[in-house]
Symmetry: C2
Subunit: 593 residues, 2 copies
């Protein structure tokens, strides 16, 4: 196998040659992902008929006999064609002499996007014809033999990045869309980053990768869980929203350090930019505190961060939930820019302006402001008008100022101010969340702010028995550029405390969780963990507009697979073994009459 050019690049240390703001070039970005002084470049041509990938050929290969396999990207006047594989593009000269007529015919007749195999010699391009924008731009292939491996029929759209397609069309022909540079880059970056996370967790820190079931029991109040009918009449499995119970049980089982790249399921009906199945980096540790988990995750992201991005700086800043709400009007602040919310009540303490006087006279009444730097310079009258309307539309929502801040940032950016640098990744821990929230439907009752296994803040345990509403938790969220990309907590390991919270404070039916409560009785170690939303994280890292761009075969926002027409009808006889019948909405009406 030949890969001297890869290796030489590796040792020349050409990491991060291209910033995301630069026009992407086939092969360059993906190769840069792999470049690091600690990593060996994989053998991409082992076990197969090709000797090299299209994208790896350089001047150092001159004179070598190579066999390449790829797709015809483009052909010019029957003189040359550009061959593409996952690694890049290479120019192939179509032979014009009579003796090579059959080779010429194969290469000239094959439609664009046909798959061909060519063998020939790597030669220099004629002087002046080098293409410095193309990584393989110094060389071309003088073909000796060619074989058409598969012809391509007329395509529904051109496989060129500059050809814009609707997302529905892209999803319908996902196997063609995957040939685009951006999708190749996104999926390979995802694979690389997850691999490095595994190395960090498994090889450096002794975590055990353990698979947990996805056919499980319905959790109390699990209204968003998909059901799976079993062959026992009326009995169902449920697809869990996370391996929460299992990972805690693994700690009780003494596994000490667990992780899993876990498939999770949530049936939220139609929600934009959500997926019915999604993936989380799921982690749990014994004998750990909040600081331990935070350091672990900081190291994890630093270790796995792609080479073509600026390195991650650790430790990440920390902010309390209360501070985040007061300063940014949200529990997931975008800390790439300022424009914080400032309490200016004191300025107006003696004001005669009526509506401010009104506000300040109320208990806890405050006047708050956001200062937009050079706002007067950038914002136009209609911008101010739209801000005023936005405020009016969201009046009385406590998150108004947070939303207003983001709205103002959007406006400033449309006016050309760069507030949120796309190459900047601003991580933030948000901590000290409340343990409980008043139930929406009955504010006198409590519900868990996150989930009922979250441990109370050590300073607030006494409040559980006096003013539980005031108790803070040991929950922590990880925020990146204003997006929640992870959350976790130290868990309750004391069975009595867990029972008190479930039964007395939350008034849950503890029977459905009896196995977990019992497990806590049998020597459960103190433990805690976290889950990172992998799809969202990769989406932010790649700067993709939607998580659908970092998933090979995503569902549409209605939960459909547009390529295969999923979900689909099932003949009634195939429902019989599961003892279910379809009750169409009209059937309900009929039976109600």
């Amino acid at each position: 196998m030949y890969f001297p050019s890869w290796l030489s690049q590796l040792y020349r240390g050409l990491s991060r040659p291209i910033r995301r703001t630069t026009q992407p070039i086939w092969g360059s970005l993906y190769r840069s992902l792999l470049q690091s002084s600690q990593r060996r470049i994989p053998e991409f041509s082992s076990f197969v008929v090709r000797t090299n990938t299209c994208g790896e050929l350089r001047s150092s290969h001159l004179g070598q006999e190579v066999t390449l396999c790829g797709w015809i990207q483009y052909r010019r006047q029957n003189t040359f064609l550009v061959l593409r594989d996952f690694d890049g593009l290479v120019q192939v000269i179509i032979p014009q002499d009579e003796s090579a007529a059959s080779v010429k015919k194969i290469l000239c007749d094959a439609p664009v996007e046909s798959v061909v195999q060519v063998s020939g010699t790597v030669i220099s391009r004629p002087a002046g014809q080098e293409n410095p924008k193309m990584p393989t731009g110094e060389i071309e292939i003088k073909v000796k033999t060619a074989e058409l491996l598969n012809a391509c029929k007329k395509l529904p759209f051109e496989i060129k990045d500059f050809v814009k397609k609707t997302e529905a069309l892209r999803l319908q022909y996902r196997y063609l869309d995957l040939r685009s540079f951006q999708m190749q880059y996104n999926l390979r970056l995802r694979s690389q980053m997850v691999m490095k996370m595994r190395e960090y967790l498994c090889n450096l820190h002794g975590f055990v990768d353990i698979e947990t079931p996805t056919l499980f029991k319905r959790t109390p109040g699990g209204a968003k869980e998909f059901l799976v009918p079993s062959r026992e009449p009326g009995k169902f499995y449920s697809l869990p929203q996370s391996p929460q119970q299992f990972k805690q049980l693994l700690m009780v089982g003494g596994l000490d350090r667990y992780f899993q790249v876990a498939r999770c399921y949530r049936d939220e009906g139609s929600r934009p930019d959500r997926q019915p199945e999604f993936t989380q980096i799921d982690i749990e540790m014994s004998f750990v505190d909040q600081t331990g988990i935070q350091s672990l995750i900081e190291g994890l992201l630093q270790y796995s961060w792609p080479n073509d991005k600026d390195p991650v700086v650790v430790p990440f800043p920390t902010m309390t939930f209360a501070e985040a709400l007061a300063t940014y009007g949200t529990d997931k602040p975008d800390t790439r820019f300022g424009m914080k919310i400032i309490d200016i009540s004191d300025v107006f303490r003696n004001t005669e302006i009526g509506f401010l006087q009104d506000a300040l006279s109320k208990p806890h009444g405050t006047v708050k402001a956001i200062c937009i730097p050079e706002g007067a310079k950038y914002l136009k009258r209609k911008d101010i008008e739209s801000i005023r309307k936005f405020a009016a539309d969201h009046f009385n929502q406590c998150s108004l100022l947070g939303k207003l801040r983001l709205e103002c940032a959007d406006l400033l950016e449309t006016r050309g101010v760069v507030l949120r640098d796309p190459t900047l990744f601003s991580f933030l821990w948000v901590v000290d969340f409340p343990l409980f929230l008043p139930k929406e439907e009955n504010p006198r009752e409590l519900e868990s702010a996150h989930h009922p296994f979250t441990a109370p803040h050590p300073s607030d345990i006494h409040l559980l028995y006096t003013e539980p509403k005031k108790a803070r938790s040991q929950h922590y969220d990880l925020v990146l550029n204003g997006n929640e990309i992870g959350g976790g907590s130290i868990r309750i390991h004391n069975a009595e405390l867990q029972r008190y919270i479930l039964a007395t404070l939350l008034k849950e039916d503890v029977k459905m969780l009896s196995h977990l409560l019992q497990a806590l009785d049998y020597g459960a170690p103190p433990h805690g963990g976290i889950a990172l939303g992998l799809d969202r994280l990769i989406c932010l890292v790649t700067g993709s507009p939607s998580i659908r761009d970092v998933i090979a075969f995503p569902k549409s926002f209605r939960g459909h697979d547009l390529m295969s027409n999923t979900p689909d009808s099932v003949p009634p006889e195939e429902l019989k073994p599961y003892h279910i019948q379809v009750s169409r909405p009209t059937d309900f009406k009929v039976s109600a009459h």
Copy 2:
């Protein structure tokens, strides 16, 4: 962090210190899994309160102040206790002096399997009291402080490997069963082996780890697929039996080399040693032939093979399907021992023995035999009788001789002959399977021997149009010690051929696969792949009696989770959003009246 003892062991090259036939000792086997000159030992005590694991302490730690966390394994006369964590056992001296009364009380009062944290000094055991059978047997801990982290209530069974429990009890209290040495070893070996497979595929050979959906469309004839009702009346997702379609579509999408540790689902009702969800190492490559896939897999198993087993020797031998049937009477021969089936027709060509004459006079009639070496010495009269009965019971089943061979091997082993060395791993490729088989319910029609995407053998393509029954395929199975642990094939990449096989030969409704057929039209590269059954493989590697022993939370053979009582009933109002109703068997009867 202290791990000099790990490192020194690593560089002293203590790999494979213990054979599986030896009595397992806590810590030793797991540590040996990690020992290899190429691998760094993980930091097991990073981010947590302990300074060391219980199992890692040696004479080299003498004098060090350590903090340990673990479970009380055992206590003797209030003088010492043995503390356990995942890494092993260590002896802790309970202080007897008045000033340490509170420490003594904690350590003496805590029930066995309680979780404690102790800090103290590593000291030598008094001369003569060393325990050479215990990896930490030269030292003990002189405790200064102790904390009870969680007390343990009375256990349903003792956490000791020699205490035999029923499997139902083990599954009901799985979180306790996981504390056993064997389960810790099995799950950690699994994690390690999968990690090494990922390194081989991803880092050495450029495979891309791609997640494919598990909520998908029902495949034609997919009678064993679980259904998942959607919120659209009468529309269902299906949990696929494998990512077969997706991996082929990824090749059409130019991903070149795909792998996934893929969760798969199969609803087979109650089947011993099967699981409704299981895991396969799923692989697909472009531009590859059968030899390429075989070399890849041989390298994969060699690279990922545990250090405490004998190394894997490659290449694996290959046998045709026809030869396997003729010589071993099965398509998954156990090649650890001989006793092959021999055709002795010629010996009896002129026989006067009636039943042999009868057999030989029929078309293709043969007389075959198995020679049991020293059978007369080992087998008793009642053994011969049981073989005769077995033969009579299975008469006229073509696999009779293959089963008889295994039956004889079982008998010989009960008589003390070691035929199948438990430390021997005998891999075998079985190739040249038939492409089609006659349908069971209608032998004049054909069905795929494996699946309809399998490419025909290059020499047999012409037979598809004349005698399809005789066509061999490019399918290959990987067999280990008589168990099929993997299977794959070169796929059809030509749309016309795929249509001909699906529509004309198999008479399938091609509409359900129209997306795949269309994909083949748009420049699908030649491709092939394989899937290894991970649960079965790890079961064989660890020598476990059941695949349930290598899965953290397995289902019982009836598909139940005995810990949480799954599957379970669901209130009717939670079925409404999915437009389904339960139709109990009695309901059917009533409506039939």
